[in-house]
Amino acid sequence: MSIAIQLENVTKRYRTGRSRTIVDLVASSVADMRGQTTEVHSATRGKIDATIHALRDVSFEVKEGAGLGIIGRNGAGKTTLLKMISRVTWPTSGTVRVAGHVVSLIELGAGFHPELTGRENVYLGAGLFGLTRKEIDRQFDAIVSFADVERLIDTPMKRYSSGLYARLGFSVAIHSNPDIVLVDEVLSVGDASFRRRAMEALRSLIASGKTVLFISHDMWNVRRLCSDILWMDNGSVRAYGEAGAIAETYMNEVNLQAMQNQATSLQSHRGGTGEVRFEHVDLYTANGAPSARFAQNDTLVIRGSYVASKAVESPVFQVAIVDIDTGVVVTTASTAGRNTATTVQGPGEIEIRFTHLPLRPRQYVLRLSITDAFQLASYDVVTAGPRFAVTGQGAGVDSLADEQDGLVTLPFEVTHRPQIRHATDSTQIRHRLGTD
């Protein structure tokens, strides 16, 4: 297997601060001559020079045909890596070697001009990726149909939604004969069906021997697509190797942080009149341990503490479990008619317990609300509450990979009778499967 990408002791330093002017140049030259540091303060404009290390002595190799997931916190250097591989920027020291045609999708629709139509932008974008007009002509229909923009292809792109923008950008890139594809979180925009097609396209690229580098915070997608993972931390390589073990460690660390963030997640997306308000909502397993991960058929305990600022009669608490990917509400649980009717004032606690959660391995978010007894007026609406993930049967991170569709696992039985012929029965309407 030949090497597609090779980084050797790559370091990248950036100068931050606002754009320099010639006055700054003079000021820093004077400072240099005096032997002072490069941090120059301008009396009127404040600090103008500071150095940040985006990458520190990074070395690794990627083989041809590999699917590499690149993970890490924001600011860890992932995007800088991709920019180096796509030759947008160059290392301060060290060497970046690349074999083949690189196509990168760093942020949406590179080069698309809002005043031009989709058609014109396809030619512009594909041209930026190195295709000639003839080559684009040949691929044009495929590009447009993959992105599903036939209707709007001759409309200026300023009228496109951001999802459409991303789809067209992705489609142009995929069809540009890449040997190496760099994808940077582009798949977080666009509806679920497009995301699935995009993942499929990337998967078939890998299958046909192309190299794909995939930055994502979504471990599910990374695990599905990538055989290896590169974990960047603060500009250095923290781990590089087979996806399984690295993803597991990463997930555990992220899980801890996710639980710490539960308290803050209630702050956003609040509605309602406020007579009764949730203070904290936490998730627990059956034995009372706080968690953001649950196995299939586990027990999910949702415990919320609330405060009623005045006496309220029989509030109804409701929680909805929503699938993050599709936005589908899997189920709602409401305290209406559950004998918790009482007048509340001041602080209190409500617990809703799901035993034997039939949810499939996916990511979910809770929507919470407190309404009056008739569910007409809302006291509190939390549209994006605590998140949790359901893990599957496999060991470690293989439990995160879920090849099957569907949000819940329902019990079912199978009866199979091979080689039975059906007698024609004219009194029954039969659904016939076939080519009529």
């Binding site: 002017t21 690349v98 942020e107 590179a110 512009l124």
Partner: protein, 267 residues
């Protein structure tokens, strides 16, 4: 298609793709400028025409500047057309890389295509303005002599100089943003320091060396000589200009290609 060799240099883009990218950006510039206006490329003619009218009033009527025997409007217009090609190219070219920052920071392509596209879009303008020049020549019943065969030479010098200056200013402007206002002001003044509204012969001898240092002097005087006066250009002046232009062009090219790696970091 691609060589698939591990290399630390950017991927070579085919001449065809390079040219098409250039045409794409140029087309986009031209469209952007003229698509929503009433007169379209007519504005390319209005600029030298209007300036010529004002110059005729101010320099010829009020200032009584000699024009060497040719009708003054023609004299001025013939120099204004190449001037505006140069001046407009540099004016929009200087900011062009910053304007196109979204593609510079996200995808690799030969960066010089961006300022070159600015120059390319002005070729449309100069073609339109030259069309009017032909009409003016007919109006003034000016004969064309065999010296007109030298026109391509001067146009080439004009192009080289324009490209050179644009590459240089666009590159420096990426790193030092106050280049742009300096260029804007400088161009306004430069017009008057070039023998456009007046002939070089009207310049007193003690100032002449400074005027010769202006590479556009040779271009403008040469073009006027072969086109308006139908006579041999002053080869000494042309040679000085040509030497300066070639040097500046090569210098600008080196400057641009040695700094374009860092554009995306700073822009």
């Amino acid at each position: 298609m691609s060589s698939k060799q591990l290399s630390d240099k950017p991927e070579r883009i085919s001449i065809g793709a390079y040219f098409e990218l250039f045409m794409n950006l140029t087309r986009r510039e031209v469209k952007g400028r003229y698509s929503q206006s009433l007169f379209g490329a007519g504005w390319a003619i209005a600029q030298p025409l209007a300036t010529m009218a004002v110059f005729t009033l101010v320099f010829a009527r009020l200032g009584k500047i000699p024009s060497g025997g040719a009708p003054y409007p023609l004299f001025a217009y013939a120099a204004l057309v190449p001037w505006f090609f140069f001046s407009n190219s540099v004016m929009s070219g200087t900011m062009s890389l910053v304007t196109y920052r979204n593609i510079v920071t996200k995808t690799y392509f030969p960066r010089e295509i961006v300022p070159l596209a600015q120059v390319g879009s002005r070729l449309v303008d100069i073609t339109a303005a030259s069309g009017l020049y032909v009409l003016l020549m007919l109006y003034y019943q000016l004969a064309v002599t065999p010296w007109a065969a030298l026109i391509p030479l001067f146009l080439l010098l004009l192009l080289l100089f324009t490209v050179g200056v644009t590459l240089a200013t666009s590159a420096i402007n990426v790193f030092y943003r106050d280049v742009n206002p300096v260029v804007q002001i400088g161009l306004q003044l430069w017009l008057y320091l070039t023998p456009v509204a007046y002939p070089l012969s009207a310049v007193p001898d003690r100032y002449r060396p400074f005027f010769l240092l202006n590479p556009l002097t040779g271009v403008v005087e040469g073009l006027r000589a072969v086109l308006v006066f139908g006579r041999e250009p002053e080869w000494g002046v042309v040679a000085i200009s040509a030497g300066l232009i070639v040097t500046i062009f090569i210098g600008a090219l080196i400057l641009f290609k040695s700094t374009d790696k860092y554009f995306a970091d700073v822009i």
